[in-house]
Every structure is written in structure tokens, then in C-alpha cells.
């Protein structure tokens, strides 16, 4: 039995980034509610369908599915989701979601769309890795999250302070895109 929420640390059950057809761009699960890939895909399909017709573009939206709370936000053709337990403080989940999509916005230099996300998938995966560890929230400030990811993407050990954040991001992104398209 898990302890009652009041004694437990704020946490998330998964962080999902899907495209406008509900296909995976990047996902990370932290709880054993979905033991198999099939269960995960079924969950993604269910919440994608459930939220598809809502307008989550200006403000983050929220819904419940089974015993989970899902907060979500759509930007262009990308759908961002964060799931928590039904006992979790909704505002905490919303803060994690905001940290996620704003950090992705910084890392993709404002071009928040599926193609850009896939071309920079390493940045997206590192970004998710910096948000939570085993479901425990590590960081929610989008600038800090993006900063940590970007500092990792530099070629040499030269510190971030020598370049501006956007320069660093540009370098990292170009490197990856070029090599991937070879």
C-alpha cells in the first residue's frame, strides 16, 4: 500500500509528449500503473482521444481518467501531458507541466513543433530527465531546466557563461541536425 498522499512527496506518474495524431514523440513513465508497453500505449490513446477536442492552447487544461489526474497543454502539433495520482495537488502538476513545455520552448528556440522536436530528440529526452527522477520532482523552473540541458550539449567543457544560452542551443542543435541528416 502506498502511504496516504498527505505524507508523501509531490510526484508525477508520467510525462508524455505526443504529436497531433497521438503518436509518441517522447514519453517517460515513473509508476508501475502501466506495466507493459501495450498498457502505456492504451493509456496514451485514451487520454489523447479524451483531450483532443479541448482547447488547451492558451491555458493548461485538466481532466481525470481512471484514478489519475492529467494536466495538459497543446502547442502547435505537440501535445504535452503530465499525469499524477488523484490525490496530488493539481497546481503542483500544473507547475511541472509548465516547466516542461516552457523548457522545450527554450530548447527549440520557440519552434515548438513535432519535426523540430524529433530533430532535437536528445534535448527533449535530457529535458524530461532533468524534470523528474523516479517520479520525484527535480526542478520546475523552465530556465534552469533548459540551462542544465544546454550545458550538457556543448562540445567541450567550456562553460555556459562564455556563450549566451541561445548561442549554445544553436550550436548544439546544428550539430545534431547536420549529422542526423547525413
Amino acid at each position: 500500500m502506498s502511504p496516504p498522499y498527505t505524507d508523501s512527496c509531490p510526484s508525477v506518474k508520467n510525462i508524455l509528449l505526443l504529436d497531433s495524431e497521438g503518436k509518441r514523440v517522447a514519453v517517460k513513465y515513473y509508476s508501475d500503473d502501466w506495466p507493459t508497453n501495450g498498457a502505456k500505449e492504451a493509456y496514451e490513446k485514451a487520454i489523447f482521444t479524451k483531450t483532443q477536442k479541448t482547447n488547451a492552447r492558451t491555458e493548461a487544461e485538466i481532466t481525470m481518467y481512471e484514478n489519475h489526474i492529467i494536466v495538459y497543454k497543446f502547442v502547435q502539433d505537440l501535445h504535452f501531458f503530465v499525469t499524477g495520482s488523484e490525490d496530488e495537488n493539481e497546481m503542483i502538476l500544473a507547475t511541472v507541466l509548465q516547466g516542461f513545455f516552457e523548457a522545450v520552448g527554450l530548447l527549440l528556440r520557440g519552434n515548438v513543433e513535432k519535426r523540430e522536436a524529433l530533430e532535437n530528440l536528445d534535448l527533449i529526452l535530457l529535458c524530461i530527465d532533468e524534470i523528474a527522477d523516479g517520479g520525484i520532482i527535480l526542478e520546475t523552473d523552465p530556465n534552469v531546466i533548459a540551462g542544465k540541458v544546454a550545458s550538457n550539449s556543448l562540445d567541450s567543457a567550456s562553460s555556459l557563461s562564455e556563450q549566451t544560452l541561445s548561442q549554445a542551443l544553436a550550436t548544439a542543435r546544428e550539430h545534431f541536425t547536420r549529422s542526423l541528416l547525413k
Partner: protein, 879 residues
């Protein structure tokens, strides 16, 4: 394969294929590493894993070893991808050893990012044996001046604590230092870890909370955590102090003025969930939640309305101030919010507002999805049970929405609700049955039609004018598919059997069915004509026939199917009595359905709920219990083990007139074990009036397949004898080879201590409600009334006292009198039940409380048997 002409289909991973990527991963072995190319290959591998692709054991091992080579590169970006890859591969213990030294080197690197990530990776993949080696570094990292490093160590500590608590507990000093950190998130992680280290030490947690609530907490997340711990301390400190001031309440209230909405909401929610919260405490929390209701953020509106919805269940009056804001939420874009608002309004509404609300909901219903409609239907059903006098408008509402478009689940929810209302509100019966009749005139769901027809067959004949339903039923025979026609034939037969005056007309209708195109319909019609004596004579129906038509089919269908398959045609006819009646996996099924909702059509429409029936059938199928007579009551299962122990055991107490049977439901949760000859050794030395008569062992208990063992006791006839029993599970355990699933031949005898079990007075009283308590009371002989007064001493609250007495007596509260309005000084509670020996008993409880929380109670009992009235007083006097 490369069809990337269309812009929308473009993806850098188009046509990616596992085999090819694994080939590419050979670049990891190059003497001159190309960091960029390696990063790119790792990204592709991670992409494959993320899409649900799996690597075989060999593939994973190969990739893992190749990846470890990359520690040679000094490229930070690549290193970061290596960390990610190792975590995703979750290497085995012998593989972990390969990377340990590289990771330990990184843990001591001068680069902060290396230190932080190496800690996270190593702690994620290590199995504990390594921990003592790296413990020193982790302790250092906790107080590292770089907040990312400190957080990494602290969060890893939280994970490790689950498996190796004794090691993490040695870090208390460092963690305590980190709680004072100026870095917001370090403080948050340190607080979480410190609390987990000390969670079993109440005093330490209380001290921690005391010092932090006075000090500075830097991040909203840490503040939320502190609120959770504070609530825990309040909960565990138990009763309020004499002055009525709750310790730490001021802190919670001050958090309502925090600048972060996350904290304000956490505090408001914590206040609403305080044990027996007073209106005065509740008010400031309700006020901030009310403000949130008109926020521009959907998440905040949702959070507020969901919390208020919960508050409305226990303190409906406290939420009524928000009703205007709630009503405007009915048109909220987010339908979850709208539905929560509606159901809250239904809970807070009073009898006079019902009609107005129903009007608003009618408009709302047309534009929400079925799943939300179901929630609303459930809420309306509860409302109707709360205000039975309003059944007319609520029943009308249900029948109106029944006529509108909707899917199966939604229609089923409506039909179930109508059935429950028919069952619980006698006045609603006739109109409810007619609504159902109208519904089946145009019902597209065969399942619902047949269920309703069955229900009509049971309830229809008992109404004042059964003949008016015949038309609707016979119409089905003309208009529907074969399944529905067959079930209509059965229903007609039931009317014929139960109402003699209708018999001739029923025979005419049944004879017409003899020409139906479907076998089953013709067969049924023939069968019923013969059993009912369709040769024209108007005779009273035999008891056997009635049993056949109305009796409960008490054999699990699965068992019947198996027996029929095994039956070989021979001279000897198939004997239905040879089919085993034991229901195999019953306890599991119970766990899945925690009895939350009344099951509507699923359950038999009258009489005891279906679990009782199942128990009765189970017990009657065991010959040893055959002479115990009729089962009076079965208790809900009582857990005798903690959650998640090796063996899970709960017990159901079955009460008979002269016997008590304990049914131990056992589950073996260890895959490597098979238990045999499982019994429970019961020590009844603290239950003197009980004597053990027999014990029925369970022959074998394989993994995860629940089974039952029984112990029966004799007790004085018809008396509510109480006692305490201690239990030990005894069995022979055999090792099971997990690969083959076969058990070894030799077993070892073993025992397992279970918790004690009490048989209490409440076990001898059935919860049976009455719809009109005053009538029932006045119809009971006043001579049987026994009145006395009792002092209950100081209690936590009036509600707590009322609850205690209800639980002690185990009777059914009537007319919602179990709910005590907040701050009341007195309360009246009405209870009804049936005492062992089938004696109806009614109880009127009047409570009063004085300033010192001393509760006094007047208990008046009426019963069909004066001695039972006395017994009730004895129970209260000795309880």
C-alpha cells in the same frame, strides 16, 4: 521506404530499423571516437526504446558494453547521453560492476554536472552491495555547495531508503544540514528525505514541523510538503486541546495568504481534511477556494471545485455560500469542472431547491459526454434517496433522459438508478416500473431489455394491478429479436405463476408463442405451459413450479459447463446435484468490487444482497454445515494480516442460530511456494461460551489462487454471544520451481501468526432499513419499549459519539440521521435492524453534548420481542 515527399510525414527517424541501428552502434568501439556520431546513435537507440521497441538480452548486453567504452571520450554532451542510455538499459548486477569505477570517478569529478549525474545513475542501477563503498561520497554530495549535486544525492537517498533504510539513516546529520540550505529545491529534497528517515518517530517529526513552521521555507514545493507533514502531526496528536484550539492550525491558516497558488491550495485542502473540522476552521479555507472558482486558470477552478465537492459530502452547509459561483460553472468549457459543479450543487441542495436544479441540469445534460452524464445520474440517485418525497420530479428526470440518445453504459446507469429507487422507495415502484416498460418499447440494447423483463417478472406481479404490464411484455414477443422474445416468454410465465386470476390470459399468449420461429422461444413456451398446467384448469401453482420460476439458480455456470462437458450419454441421467457449488476465486472478485455502488439490475431485486447469497450457497454446498440451519448473517471480510505480507488472510463471520462459522479466505502471495493442508488453529480461551465443533482444512493453496478454510463453533442458541479468538495459520509448505511450476515432494510444516478476531454484538444484527421510521415505530408494540439514559463521557465530537454507537449496534441508520450537522449540541439518530431469530428492532437515540464535550445519550428501543429490547440495552451498557 524513403517516402518523405510529404512534409507532414517527415521525421529524422523515418525508416529507422533496430538491426541497422545496432550495427551502427559499432562506432562506439572505434579507437578514435566521433563524439557527435556516437551521440546521434545513442539518440536513435533511445528513440527505439521510447517507441516501445525491446532489445533481447544479448542485444542489450552488447549495447551496454559498447556504451561503457564511451567513458573514454571527454565530450560532455556525449557523456550526458551515456548516462541516459545506461539508466534506460537497467543493467544486471554483473554488468553494473563494469561501469562502477567510471561512475565513481565522475562522482569525484570537478565538473558539477558529472558529479550530479553520476550519482543519479549509480544510485539507480546499484543493488545495495555497492552502497557502502560509495556512501562516503554520497554524504559529501548531500552538503555539496552546488545545489544540483546536492539535490541529486538527496533524491537518490529517497529512492535508496526504500531498499536500504539502515544506510540512509546514517546520513541524518548531513540531511539536516541540507534542510537549512539556501537553495530552494535542495531544501525541498532534504525535507522530503529527512521526513522519510524519521517517519516512524512521531516526536522527531513533530519537532521538525515545529521548528520549520517558525523558520523560513524557501520554495513553494517545500512549503506544500511542510503542510502535508503538519497535517500528519495534527492527525496523530488526536484530540483537540481543552481550549478547542488546534495546534498548528494558525500555521495552516497563514499559508492561505502565501503568494503561491500551489501553497494556498495545499493549505486549503489540508484544512478541509482535518478530522472533525469545525465551521470556524473551515471558513477561511472555503473563502479562498471560492475565489479560485472564478480563476481564469482551468486547473485552479478544477482543483477548487473538486475539493469543495468533497467537503459537500460531510459539510454541505459550509459550501452553500459558493452556490452562485458553482451555478456559473455549469457552463464551464471544461466539462469535468461543470460536472463537479453540478454534483456539488446536488449535494448541497435542500429539498426546496431540487426542482430548480433539475431544470438547470436538463439543459446541461444535452451537451456533455456520456461519462459525465453517468456521474450526474449517480448524484441524482443519491439525492433521491436523501429526499424520498421528491421522488416524483427526480424519477421524471430519469425517465426523460432515458428517452434521449445515449450509449449503453449511460442507459444502464439510468436503468440501475430507477431500479434502486423502486427498491428503496415503495411509493416510486409503480411509476418506476411503468417508465421501464416504456423504455423497453424502444430499447436498442438487448441486454437491458432482458434484464428489465426479468425485473418486471419479479416485481410486476406484486403491484396493485399486474395486468397493466402484460401489454408491454407481450409486445416484445412481436417486435424483438429472439433473445428478448425468449425472456418475454419467461416473464409472462412468472405473471401466470404468481397471479392466478391472470392465468387464463397468460395461457392464451403463451400458446401463441408456440409458433415462434426460434427454438428457444418455442421451447420455453412449451415448458411453461406444461409446468403451469396449461390444459386450461385454473389451479394454484405448485410450490415446486414457483421455485423453478423464481428460485435462485445456485450453481456457478462455469462449474455446470465443465460438468456437462464431462458427462457421457448413458442410461444414467445427468444429475445437477453432482455439480460442485464452490465458487473458486470469490475473494479476489470481492477485492475488485469494493462494494461501492449498489449493483442495480445485477443484484436480485429483493432480499439480501448477492454476496450474502453467494455465501449461503457456498456454505450449503459443504455437507458438514448442512445441519446448521439457515444462515442469519455474514460479516464483511475482516483482514487478519497487514497489506502485502507473504500470506493474505481475511475472515468472514457467518452467524447461524446455534453456530458460528469462520470462513478464512487465504491467498498465497509467494510464487515459489505451494501450501498444503492449510488450517487455522483457533484459540477460544477468551470466548468461553464457544466450543469448536469442526475445522475444514484447505487441501492446497497455490500461488495467487485464493482458497478457503473453515472453522465452526457451537454457541448458546439465539443469543448474541461475544468473544475474542486468536488465530494461527498452520500449513505444510513446499518449494515450487519457478521455471516448471512443479512443487517438490517434501514439505515443511510451518505456522504464521494472524491477528485476533472478535465476535461482537453487531454480528447478530442485520442492517435492514425501513422507509418510514415513524410509521414503523408506531406500529410496534409500545409495551416492548425500553428506555434508559447513558453517559458516554468526554468524546472527540458529537459525530464521533453517534458513529461509535451505530457501529456498536451494527444497525441501519434511517432517513440520513447518521449525519451530524457541524456544531450541533444535540442530535437524534434513528436505527433499524433485524436481531438474530428474525426479530425486528427499532432504536431511537437522542444525544446531547455539554461544554466539556461530555456526551449523554437517551436510548429508546422497540422490538417484536421485549427480551431483544433488553438485549440492546445490555449491549450498550457493556459496550
Amino acid at each position: 521506404m524513403l517516402g518523405h515527399n510529404s512534409q507532414s510525414e517527415y521525421s529524422p527517424f523515418l525508416g529507422i530499423e533496430k538491426g541497422a541501428v545496432l550495427q551502427e552502434a559499432r562506432v562506439f568501439n572505434d579507437p578514435q571516437l566521433d563524439a557527435r556520431r556516437c551521440s546521434q546513435v545513442i539518440t536513435k537507440l533511445l528513440y527505439l526504446l521510447n517507441q516501445g521497441e525491446t532489445f533481447t538480452k544479448i542485444e542489450a548486453t552488447e549495447v551496454f558494453f559498447a556504451v561503457t567504452k564511451l567513458f573514454q571520450s571527454r565530450d560532455i554532451g556525449l557523456r550526458r547521453m551515456v548516462y541516459l542510455m545506461i539508466k534506460e538499459l537497467s543493467p544486471s548486477a554483473d554488468e553494473v560492476i563494469i561501469v562502477t569505477s567510471s561512475l565513481m570517478k565522475d562522482m569525484n569529478s570537478r565538473t558539477d554536472m558529472y558529479r550530479a549525474n553520476a550519482i543519479r545513475v549509480l544510485c539507480r542501477i546499484t543493488d545495495g552491495t555497492l552502497l557502502t563503498q560509495i556512501e562516503r561520497y554520497l554524504k559529501q554530495a548531500i552538503v555539496d555547495k552546488n545545489p544540483v549535486v546536492a539535490s541529486a544525492a538527496l533524491v537518490s537517498g529517497i529512492h535508496i531508503l526504500q531498499t536500504n533504510p539502515e544506510i540512509v539513516k546514517r546520513w541524518s546529520n548531513e540531511v539536516q544540514e541540507a534542510v537549512q540550505s539556501r537553495a530552494a529545491l535542495v531544501q525541498f529534497h532534504a525535507l522530503a528525505l529527512l521526513h522519510q528517515i524519521r517517519q516512524n518517530d512521531r516526536l522527531a517529526v513533530s519537532k521538525l514541523v515545529t521548528s520549520l513552521t517558525r523558520g523560513t521555507v524557501r520554495s513553494p514545493l517545500a512549503q506544500c510538503l511542510l503542510i502535508r507533514y503538519t497535517s500528519q502531526v495534527i492527525r496523530e496528536s488526536g484530540n483537540n486541546t481543552q481550549t478547542g484550539d488546534r495546534p498548528f492550525y494558525d500555521y495552516l491558516e497563514s499559508c492561505l495568504r502565501h503568494k503561491s497558488e500551489m501553497v494556498i491550495f495545499e493549505a486549503a485542502r489540508a484544512i478541509t481534511e482535518l478530522n472533525s473540522v469545525t465551521t470556524r476552521e473551515l471558513t477561511p479555507a472555503i473563502t479562498v477556494l471560492q475565489l479560485f472558482l472564478s480563476s481564469s486558470k482551468p486547473v485552479l477552478r478544477f482543483a477548487a471545485v473538486r475539493t469543495l465537492n468533497k467537503v459537500a459530502m460531510t459539510h454541505p452547509m459550509a459550501v452553500t455560500n459558493c452556490n452562485i459561483d458553482m451555478e456559473s460553472l455549469i457552463s464551464d468549457q471544461n466539462r469535468s469542472i461543470a460536472t463537479l459543479a453540478i454534483t456539488t450543487l446536488l449535494k448541497t441542495g435542500n429539498e426546496s431547491s431540487v426542482d430548480r436544479l433539475m431544470k438547470q441540469i436538463t439543459n446541461f445534460m444535452s451537451d456533455i459526454a456520456d461519462e459525465f452524464k453517468i456521474v450526474v445520474v449517480d448524484a441524482i440517485r443519491s439525492l433521491c434517496l436523501k429526499f424520498p418525497l421528491k421522488y416524483r420530479s427526480l424519477m421524471n428526470f430519469l425517465s426523460n433522459i432515458l428517452r434521449e440518445e445515449g450509449g449503453f453504459d449511460y442507459k444502464k446507469a439510468i436503468v440501475d438508478s430507477i431500479v434502486i429507487l423502486i427498491r428503496d422507495i415503495p411509493d416510486a415502484k409503480e411509476s418506476g416500473l411503468l417508465h421501464l416498460c416504456e423504455f423497453i418499447e424502444d430499447c436498442e440494447f438487448t441486454y437491458l431489455s432482458t434484464q428489465i423483463l426479468h425485473f418486471l417478472g419479479v416485481e410486476g406481479p406484486k403491484t396493485s394491478d399486474p395486468s397493466k404490464y402484460i401489454r408491454y411484455i407481450y409486445n416484445r414477443v412481436h417486435l424483438e429479436n429472439a433473445t428478448v422474445r425468449a425472456s418475454a416468454v419467461s416473464t409472462l410465465a412468472k405473471f401466470g405463476a404468481a397471479v392466478d386470476s391472470l392465468k387464463p390470459r397468460i395461457f392464451v399468449l403463451l400458446r401463441r408463442c408456440l409458433f415462434d420461429s426460434d427454438d428457444e422461444v418455442r421451447d420455453r413456451a412449451t415448458l411453461y405451459l406444461n409446468t403451469l398446467g396449461g390444459d386450461g384448469a385454473v389451479v394454484e401453482t405448485d410450490k415446486d413450479v414457483k421455485d423453478f420460476l423464481f428460485g435462485y439458480f445456485d450453481i456457478p455456470l462455469v462449474n455446470l459447463e465443465t460438468s456437462l462437458k464431462n458427462y457421457e450419454p448413458s442410461e444414467e441421467p445427468f444429475d445437477i446435484n453432482s455439480v460442485p457449488k464452490e465458487v473458486k476465486s470469490q475473494p479476489l472478485a470481492e477485492k475488485k468490487a469494493p462494494g461501492k455502488k449498489p449493483t442495480g439490475l445485477g443484484a436480485p431485486p429483493s432480499g439480501p444482497p448477492s454476496t450474502e447469497d453467494a455465501y449461503e450457497r457456498l456454505l450449503s454446498s459443504i455437507p458438514e454445515f448442512a445441519n446448521f440451519g439457515k444462515l442469519f448473517k455474514s460479516s464483511p471480510p475482516v483482514e487478519l494480516t497487514e497489506a502485502e505480507t507473504e500470506y493474505a488472510v481475511n475472515v468472514v463471520k457467518h452467524i447461524f442460530d446455534r453456530h458460528v462459522v469462520f470462513q478464512y479466505n487465504c491467498t498465497n502471495t509467494i510464487p515459489e511456494q505451494l501450501l498444503e493442508n492449510v488450517t487455522v488453529i483457533v484459540d477460544a480461551s477468551e470466548a468461553e461460551e464457544f466450543s469448536e465443533v469442526l475445522s475444514k482444512p484447505l487441501r492446497s493453496l497455490p500461488y495467487d489462487s485464493p482458497g478457503q478454510t473453515f472453522v465452526a463453533f457451537e454457541k448458546p442458541e439465539g443469543l448474541p454471544t461475544v468473544g475474542k479468538f486468536s488465530n494461527v495459520l498452520k500449513f505444510i509448505v513446499k518449494e515450487v520451481d519457478p521455471s516448471t511450476g512443479e512443487a517438490e515432494d517434501d514439505g515443511v510444516e510451518d505456522e504464521y501468526q494472524l491477528e485476533d478476531l472478535d465476535v461482537v454484538s453487531a454480528d447478530y444484527i442485520l442492517k435492514v432499513g425501513v422507509s418510514n421510521f415513524r410509521n414503523a415505530w408506531e406500529n410496534m408494540d409500545p409495551e416492548s419499549e425500553r428506555v434508559d439514559e447513558y453517559g458516554l463521557g468526554p468524546r472527540e465530537s458529537l459525530a464521533e459519539a453517534v458513529n461509535t454507537v451505530i457501529n456498536l449496534l451494527g444497525m441501519q441508520p434511517c432517513e440520513g440521521t447518521e449525519v451530524v450537522p457541524p456544531n450541533s449540541r444535540s442530535h437524534q439518530c434513528l436505527l433499524s435492524g433485524v436481531f438474530i431469530g428474525n426479530v425486528k428492532v427499532l432504536v431511537r437515540l437522542s444525544f446531547g453534548v455539554d461544554g466539556a464535550k461530555d456526551v449523554a445519550m437517551k436510548l429508546a428501543v422497540r422490538s417484536e420481542d421485549e427480551s431483544v429490547s433488553d438485549t440492546i440495552h445490555e449491549i450498550v451498557a457493556s459496550g
